[in-house]
Amino acid sequence: MDGEEQSVVVELIIALVKIALVVAVIMVLVPFLVWGERKYVADVQVRIGPNRVGPFGLLQSLADGIKLMFKEDILPGHVDRVLYFLAPIVMMIPALCVMAVIPFGNQITLFGHTTRLVVTDLPVGILYVLALTSLGVYGVVLAGWASNNKYSLLGGLRSSAQMVSYELPMGLAIVAALMISSAKGGEMSLVSIVEAQKDGFWNWNFLWWGIGFLPFLMYWICGIAETNRAPFDLPEAETELVAGYHTEYSGMKFALFFLAEYANMLNVGAIATTLFCGGWHSPIPIEILPKSMGLLKALGPVFWFSVKVGFFIWAYYHLRATLPRLRYDRLMGFAWKGLVPLALVNILIVATIITLGYREKPVPPSTSQRPASQAVGMAGQPGPGGF
């Protein structure tokens, strides 16, 4: 094995370790997220919540998971078998794949190998995220249709209309975020977007010129709708639709839907963090730890990233605990008559500010003097008309 081959093998091992790490963290985290949600909502409603299994009921979700795993896997007689089996898988795969492009920390050096704390940094990162989230809806739709049951079908119908409707303002909010980011020197890859927001919380995108909070809020609202969470949880509205699209599911298949929902919540929180809240950067750029504490220092960004994602998860809980479910026509009207026009106006304002000459970093004079055909190639720099 010569040197080059060896480095390829090392790269492969690093990539596999990162993938395993990300998947493992999600799988371990989800039961605790469920527990946290139950405890928090119980607290808000002046109840106690789970407190029987383990200290503070911490192992409740684990017990539930074991129960789901060993339960009888019921296959109702009236379902479309292939699609019934396929639906939870189709739901789970995009939820996990989105995690691949989210940077959860800065560079880290272990055993002499320096690597970024992201599985892969795609040049079209944010589009990859959009593509996968748009595929996630098939899980819900297929589950609803394959179950061959009117409650499930209604859930599936609702979710397909809801998710397509909210994808549009979500995309427009992301466009605004990308424009802001490109004015600061970012590109479409998520790592570059995070790096464009360094040096303190006043550089984070949601504080940009007092208007960045608008796409931020819009993204957050659409994210809640995309994950089918309260107050937009109409696809599985218990009071009307039994359990919506997963009425006919039991055992591990139901658990997969549950896992995918929480993984999607983590995704939305992580992308909101990356696009608008500075990703792994700490709010105040002060070096507390000395250089000698290398590994601990490298874990600082991971800490800040987790804190921010944790905030969004808390916001999910709190919204669920405090808001009633929307009526269906209000839900659709809000997307098409409220969010879409607002997002378009917001893009117009952001574009105006950028066109009027706002630049975080001064553009090197050579770029503007270059003929247009060459400036086109400089994707790394915020030239006119490109991000």
């Binding site: 079908l153 397509v164 994808e167 995309g171």
Partner: protein
Amino acid sequence: MNVANLGFFLVAGLSIVSAGFVIFHPNPVRSALFLVVNFICLAILYLTLNAQLLAALQVIVYAGAIMVLFLFVIMLLNLGGERAREDALAGQKFAGGFLALVVLGALSVGLYQVVSAKETRPVTDAWRLEQMRFQAPPGKEGEVQIAQIGSELFRNYLYPFELTSVLLLVGLIGAVLLAKRRLPEQSQPEGQRRDRP
């Protein structure tokens, strides 16, 4: 045959098979799902050509938005059951076969022209794309950059781009007009009724 070629033939074969199922499967929901599979195969083919942007857009627009609406309509109209395939028009099969041959002929002529004209007539779109590829910044050779596609669209292809958007707008207005409910004014007495399109 190297690995990349093998991958191409696998994905291309899968896309053709799934396209066949789109047409021949009796169940409309399955047909629509095979079309999704086909779109994803096309996206993978774009990826192998280093066109990451096109691949992402293919999945977002076609697989993620349009096909979801197709499924929505199929489910809403409850077309889920299997239907016997019967011709709605007389001579449909022959007309369909003839049109398919026409499309095939047009595509092969176009393909032949592109392949043969590459050396002799350099100013074609394929050549332009190749030029763009050569201008990619160091370290990113071989990728058609997003910014490049954007500036090409808004500089050299602005008219077709804007015309397409007008076309979409026309389609949108037409759909709204066809689908809108009758307005309350139309149920008013004869004398007060206003003419509406």
